[in-house]
């Protein structure tokens, strides 16, 4: 779990945080509700998770709430890994 958290956190930082942005992002930093990731660009994270973990995330579960923190994203991925 810890390894998955780090992989996803590193992806989020690389994908959504600009190099000149001083914002600290951790496992429980709100991503969607804080405006760091908007609902349109959230899809990039979904594409990454599905490719990386060979899963399919249904649209009704890939919600802004489920994607709001790295911790909650890990829970969702784990659930679909079976």
């Amino acid at each position: 779990m810890a390894e998955m958290k780090d992989v996803i956190l590193q992806y989020v930082i690389g994908e959504y945080v600009d190099e000149d942005d001083e914002q600290d992002v951790g496992y429980d930093t709100p991503l969607i509700s804080s405006g760091l990731v908007d609902s349109f660009s959230m899809v990039s994270l979904k594409v990454f998770l599905e490719k990386k973990y060979s899963i399919k995330l249904p649209d009704d579960e890939a919600t802004p709430e489920a994607f709001d923190t790295v911790t909650s994203i890990c829970r969702l991925v784990k659930k679909h890994q079976g």
């Binding site: 405006g35 349109f40 660009s41 899809v43 594409v47």
Partner: protein, 415 residues
Amino acid sequence: MAYSDKARAAFNSEIDAIKEKGLYKEKRFISSPQDAEILVEFPEGAEKKRVLNFCANNYLGLSSHPDVVAAAHRGLDERGYGMSSVRFICGTQDIHRELQNKVSKFLGMESTLLFPSCMDANSGVFEAILSPQDVIIADRLIHASLVDGIRLCSAEYDTFKHMDMKHLENKLILHQDKRNRLVVTDGVFSMDGDLAPLDEMCALCDKYDAMILVDESHASGFIGKTGRGTHEHFGVIDKVDIITTTFGKGLGGASGGCVSGRRELVELCRQKARPYLFSNSMAPCIVAASITVIDLVSSSTERRDKLERNTERFRKGITEAGLCIREGETPIVPVMLFNAKLANDMSRDMYAEGIYVIGFFFPVVPAGAARIRVQLSAAHEFHHIDKCVEAFRKVGEKYGILGLDKNGIIAKYGM
């Protein structure tokens, strides 16, 4: 009654929540033609006031141009008021065909299809040409209508950081397994006024076998040496596959839009795009006026040259006055304030000074990036621009932000 008190209360509480968040859009009434100087009633019920307009998309000052108005009259007299039909049933007149041909020539594209608006063009184009085996790769700051169109499409989609070419390249590599790749961008981004680097984007599309769609709504008629748009500016007219644009901004300001591009893609839109198939034709008077607009911008660069001079004067003046702006060269000039309340308060004070500008804040722009967006027009004269700059200087002084950069303003007002 199906509309119960309970339902009414629930809707009212949603409206109240919008107000509490400071996101409520207030009513403003204009009782003059659209121009550099307009007569405004704001707030509702207040005495009408003559103000200078610095927030219209009237880039070329054609909204009330006498030749355009006369052409609309002729269209009304010669082709009637409305078509009472969608295009493919009995809603296509000879002037619709004439406008499409003129737009194709002006934009340097193979073919063009008119839509009731560019919002409709953007809603319909993706689903008409793409399938689930394809992928759309979009800049994260594209216009909301493109976002809606992409979401309505069965193709997969992905995004790249705003104008980050390395990130775009990574995404193009990631999606090499797809049948078709379509890169999507605005030519000029409406909130920041920055230009998509179409030369680099087209080179990447060539390298990784991708098509490119550019929304030119804030560019058509005035970006590029002869006003053809961002693709002219970057010398890639023949490299762009699809342009969507509007007749509701620089090109006359009424309404209507189009998809212009490769012949087969436009033909697929004609066959399959739902807003084309299920919404009425552009009204004849608007089509007739738009033909005159295209003739005007095709035959002379006078208005886009004046807009360029106005833009240079404003950007220089506002920078010297000590305001913080997003650097650039387009007539969209964001005066950066970062704090939403500051943007709102300053726009009200600007109105008191006789300048009509609007504050923008989250969710219209990213959180912490509130600004007043100034839009220049060829209808402005230098004395209008100087008055606007002076008003910004006066209001900026009141709030103590003159000479402050991003960090200075945030330190004083927060984000």
